[in-house]
Symmetry: C2
Subunit: 153 residues, 2 copies
């Protein structure tokens, strides 16, 4: 189990060094706990898991470290990330999905029936009854690709 940890630890350390950040006991503990099991989780669950292992790490540190893990590419935010809800018309408009520009925030709508078909197929295979879905691709729009290198964080 520990041998599996090594690669993630190395990856994280690499990231920290590249950002001139430190590898603290708190970050080590969080990293370990996060990769101790392969499951979806949220910040509070992580806090509980850590408490159960006698690690007393504050929520603030957990949130700050999770952000680092996402930035380093070790974790992904599956749900949400947005602070508030956005709405769009449904009635009288064909179903569509979205390309969202990470730089200027522009939203491009697109329709691709073949993707819809494949989704139905996936649901059938998994004996899942779909009620709605959301496909969102983040990236850079045509205008922003040119100035891509500006303002990287």
């Amino acid at each position: 189990m520990v041998s599996e940890m090594v690669s993630e630890t190395e990856k994280f350390k690499e990231y920290l060094v590249s950002r001139k950040l430190k590898f603290t006991p708190e970050r080590q503990a969080i990293l370990y706990q996060v990769f101790a099991t392969h499951k979806h989780f949220e910040a509070d669950e992580l806090l509980v898991d850590l408490r159960n292992n006698d690690m007393k790490i504050s929520k603030a540190t957990i949130y700050r470290t999770l952000a680092l893990l996402v930035e380093s590419g070790l974790l992904r935010e599956v749900i949400s990330g947005e602070r508030h809800a956005h709405y769009e018309h449904v009635y009288g408009h064909e179903h569509h999905d979205h390309l969202v520009c990470n730089k200027c925030g522009k939203i491009i709508e697109f329709v691709e029936q073949r993707i819809e078909k494949l989704q139905d197929e996936v649901c059938r295979v998994n004996k899942f009854k779909p009620e709605s879905h959301r496909l969102q691709i983040q990236g850079l729009c045509e205008d922003c690709i040119e100035t891509e290198w500006v303002g990287q964080k």
Copy 2:
């Protein structure tokens, strides 16, 4: 059966009647404003638009009415809806998407390369440079389909 489109107002009234709810001036104003333009928006923007048209409607009513418009099928929540972020491993795991059960919350992961391919195609057509994407299908999982759904709201 009907080929011509019923107005949004009619659709909303239908829904309200079916739920024994009332068609108030506030709901009428919000409905009008929401469909005055075809754009993505959030609650606060709607409030501002209404204020600009001299409609003084409280935030509470706006949120309550938006919920009704979503339930009636006139609007769709494009982004978020979730209260808190969920995370999953990235490093060492193949990219996958999710089936999320609306009843028990179970998350089923799936991989469908053909969908990924089509996404790339969509990006190419729109001259969009993808950095990440998120496909999430909401519905009922196998176990929950049996138990059906009683308390729909």
